[in-house]
């Protein structure tokens, strides 16, 4: 039954060779096979991005524009009515996409910049840099981050800059841990040792040998961290110590309109008004989670079995 001949050829050895495709082609191909939830997530994320970018064009009124009638019901002039001081809820929802999501994205980027760089450095230099950073992170993580954020906000005040920096620094501890742990697994690989033996510098090793190999978990983590940051900022704003008025923001909008809830039995739509920004937050988080779930499934090759 043996169809293999004894004459050996290295070229002919069996191997899986896949056709080379561009990243975009690959993405399209994967998307075609993707589950419903992932497609739903991608559409929602794109939609939010569009609304955030074109907010001024889409919103009928300005985010701080006050009308004489507070707590107006839903109508054709004010689609979702007006809030407690007479601002158009629909317009503030649209601007909220820009403010709330924008701030969360900026914070996540910053936190990855800090945590990612330090995590990589700690993974490569396993001596004192790693020791100092890891121990400090342990201590920082011993305080729940929302509580820590509250302490810091009480000192530095609730400006958008301090909010971004505080949350980013606190969140970067988690990015640091992840980056470090995945990078440590790559650093011990023989190809990194081979690069070191060749005499390559630290920069090359970080950029060319390690970074490309830890991108998939980092990208997934970016999604998850974004959700976390987004929810934390929303919670802080809801508590009144996050994004401050008059900037339109979903978290504070929930708080401002919470009173309307008790009128739900008389006018259901009025009762729904405070839930709209909360639902906007939830929808985006669900969407990102769906996409991350799919991405993790694709890249890790891990299955539940």
């Amino acid at each position: 039954m043996s169809q293999e001949t004894h004459s050996y050829s290295a070229n002919a050895e069996n191997a899986n060779f896949s056709e080379r495709r561009s990243v975009w082609d690959n993405f399209k191909l994967e998307l075609r096979k993707s589950p419903f939830t992932a497609r739903f997530g991608i559409i929602i994320i794109l939609l939010y991005a569009l609304v955030a970018v074109f907010a001024p064009a889409l919103a009928p009124y300005g985010q701080a524009q006050v009308f004489p009638s507070p707590y107006d019901p839903w109508s054709s002039t004010h689609i979702f009515g007006t809030d407690q001081i007479g601002r158009d809820v629909f317009s503030r929802m649209i601007y909220g996409a820009r403010n709330t999501v924008g701030i969360a994205v900026a914070t996540t980027f910053l936190s990855f910049l800090i945590g990612g760089t330090l995590g990589l450095a700690a993974a490569i230099d396993r001596r004192w840099i790693d020791q100092i950073l890891s121990r400090s992170v342990d201590v920082l993580m011993a305080i729940p981050s929302l509580i820590f954020a509250l302490v810091l906000l009480s000192i530095f005040g609730s400006t958008i800059t301090s909010l971004i920096i505080i949350i980013a620094v606190l969140d970067s501890t988690r990015v640091f841990r992840l980056t470090r742990s995945v990078a440590v697994n790559v650093v011990v690989m023989d190809y990194v040792e081979a690069a070191r033996l060749r005499g390559e510098g630290l920069g090359w090793i970080m950029r060319r040998e390690i970074l490309p190999n830890i991108m998939p978990p980092l990208i997934a983590e970016f999604g998850l961290r974004f959700c976390f940051v987004f929810l934390t900022i929303a919670a802080l704003s809801f508590l009144g110590v996050g994004i401050q008025p008059p900037t339109a923001d979903w978290g504070s909008m929930v708080r401002e309109n919470a009173n309307l809830l008790q009128f739900a039995q008389y006018d259901l739509r009025a009762g729904l008004t405070p839930l709209l920004p909360a639902a906007a937050i939830a929808l985006l988080t669900v969407a990102v989670n769906f996409v991350v779930d799919w991405f993790l499934h694709k890249t890790s090759g891990l299955r539940d079995e």
Binding site: M1, S2, E4, T5, H6, Y8, S9, A10, N11, E13, N14, A15, N16, F17, S18, R20, K33, M189, D190, Y191, E193, A194, R196, L197, R198, G199, E200, R208, E209, P212, N213, R303, E305
Partner: protein, 551 residues
């Protein structure tokens, strides 16, 4: 051969449920199994028949991916998660296991058929004492009372030459060594006196000197209770000691099956013949000449744990020095000292007449260029995100400042040297076979135009036939380019195939070194003797003779 055994071995211990030896016990017919990966079902077993009589041992051999483990488990009616039986029957004592539910099969498992796994350390539950795990299924089936089962387990421990058989069962899995654990697992498999035991690569993770003890113990006990067994391994010499019949598998199909002696002396199929070939490769020995690298009195330590003691090795230009030893012998540490990854605490490394700085950082680019390294696992030695062209091209660019067309032409030349064509330039490591990967790693080392290459177990992760190709390539390159190799390995047959000089290491010390013929010629120091005598031969009587000699 089993017929002879039938007459010689008295069937004294008829405690097992088998009525008599020779009846058909297991009859697998046209079995087909699929596994799920990459969102698709793939064929793993493509229609295999297997017949096993009571008291017989069947050896299943094949390379990785041949489906031997899947087949072995399927003989018990078990399929791993993510696999399914798509066709055929598994008659065990007349019952088709393929058609039984898990609950029904459980009545067979741990009672009439048992399993010995490759990694005993991972397969024992860390939370329970060994004797509890040894006897659990026997007590559950009600075959013996707890006291009976315990005292029987102690007898089995004794039979398997475990130290302190009365008390070793009170220990927890992490408290005994790997070789002992593997024997306890054999006792566990034997405790219910099953009709069939499946051994799944039970000695692969062990050192050769330990392997001999475990093999002897296993064979003794299986013979004693006249149990039928399936013995899965990739090591021909091992299976030759254990099996009455050998079945060779490849790509999920049977290549051939024959009684062990017949299979060893006159294999019919080309593929089977090729499995033997590496053993026949032998290098004509070269005498020592001008040395290219010499280690003198090297001591080295990881933190406070000293791992190398006064190691001196000399490598002559254009020759191969093999460093042999078991795990923990310090052979890989020696390589780390030479490369500068682990600075020595005493002694010196001299390369081509000049002493090398201890630390890699202090060495010049030229010094780094001239010493290259090839790793055991080609998989992890190449960045999975770089193409073959980038991998081979980088040293050209880095050391020799080659760019553009020059670099490309030289890369193609190197590919040709390792017998691969230009189509491979664009491939990623994941798109190469095991042998091709190792070849690319060789090309990467060659790209630096080195004088000296450290080969760290470069063939031990590869299948037999591929090993031969790699060794031949290394020998040819040595002849063409005048390279010197330091060849680290635990495999004696590879040492015979490639080396000029041999260094034997044990626990961080050099036990013996010299020309290959001298080292392999008795008299040996005690450790070399133990090591050399523990390496199984392709002779079915080897283990019997060895045990007789060692008594």
């Amino acid at each position: 051969m089993w017929l002879i055994g039938f007459f010689i071995r008295p069937v004294v211990f008829v405690m097992n449920k088998s009525s008599e030896r020779g009846n058909l016990l297991l009859d697998v017919k046209d079995l087909k199994i699929q596994g799920f990966s990459d969102e698709k079902w793939h064929d793993i077993i493509k229609g295999i028949d297997l017949r096993l009589h009571r008291g017989e041992i069947m050896g299943l051999i094949g390379e990785s991916g041949a489906g031997k483990s899947t087949l072995g488990l399927a003989a018990m009616g078990y399929t791993q998660p993510g696999c399914r039986i798509t066709g055929g029957n598994i008659y065990f004592d007349g019952v088709d296991l393929a058609n039984l539910s898990d609950v029904q099969k459980r009545n067979f498992w741990g009672d009439r058929m048992t399993y010995v796994a490759q990694s005993a350390a991972a397969s024992f539950n860390p939370a329970h004492r060994l004797i509890l795990q040894t006897t659990a299924s026997t007590i559950r089936s009600g075959a013996k009372s707890k006291d009976q089962a315990y005292s029987d387990a102690m007898d089995l421990y004794k039979e398997l030459n475990l130290p302190d058989p009365q008390n070793i069962g009170d220990r927890y899995p992490h408290q005994v060594s790997g070789g002992q654990l593997q024997r306890v697992m054999t006792a566990m498999a034997m405790s219910p006196r099953p009709d069939l035991i499946v051994f799944d690569e039970p000695t692969t993770a062990l050192d050769v000197t330990t392997q001999v003890e475990v093999l002897s113990a296993m064979r003794k006990i299986v013979e004693k209770f006249n149990t039928a067994a399936i013995y899965i391994t990739h090591d021909l010499a091992v299976v030759a000691q254990m099996a009455d019949y050998i079945k060779v598998l490849r790509y999920g199909k049977e290549v051939e099956e024959a009684p062990t002696r017949e299979m060893l002396s006159s294999p019919k199929e080309e593929y089977t013949k090729s499995l033997w070939s590496v053993r026949s490769l032998e290098k004509a020995e070269q005498q020592k000449s001008e040395s290219v690298l010499s280690l003198e009195g090297i001591d080295a330590a990881y933190g406070s744990a000293k791992v190398l003691f006064d190691v001196s090795i000399e490598v002559a230009k254009g020759t191969t020095v093999s460093v042999v030893g078991e795990s923990g012998s310090g052979k890989s540490t020696t390589a780390r000292v030479i490369t500068g990854l682990l600075p020595q605490s005493a002694g010196s490394v001299t390369f081509d007449g000049e002493e090398l700085p201890k630390v890699l950082k202090d060495r010049t680019k030229e010094q780094k260029r001239r010493i290259q390294m090839i790793y055991q696992m080609a998989d992890t030695a190449m960045n999975p995100r770089q193409t073959v062209g980038e991998i081979i091209g980088r040293p050209l660019e880095f050391y020799l400042n080659m760019r553009g067309v020059d670099k490309r032409n030289r890369t193609l030349e190197l590919l040709e040297m390792i017998e691969l064509n230009g189509e491979f330039l664009q491939r990623l490591p994941s798109e190469l076979s095991g042998g091709q990967k190792q070849r690319v790693c060789i090309a990467r080392a060659l790209a630096a135009n080195p004088d000296f290459i450290i080969c760290d177990e470069v063939t031990s992760a590869l299948d037999q036939i591929v090993q031969e190709g790699i060794l031949k390539l290394l020998l040819r390159l040595q002849k063409d380019l005048g390279l010197a190799y330091l060849f680290i390995t635990h495999d004696i047959s590879t040492v015979k195939a490639i080396s000029d000089q041999v260094v034997v290491m044990n626990q961080g010390e050099v036990v013996e070194q010299g020309q290959k013929t001298d080292v392999f010629q008795p008299p040996h120091p005690a450790y070399t003797e133990l090591l050399l005598s523990s390496v199984p031969d392709m002779d079915p009587d080897w283990l019997t003779n060895l045990n007789a000699a060692r008594q």
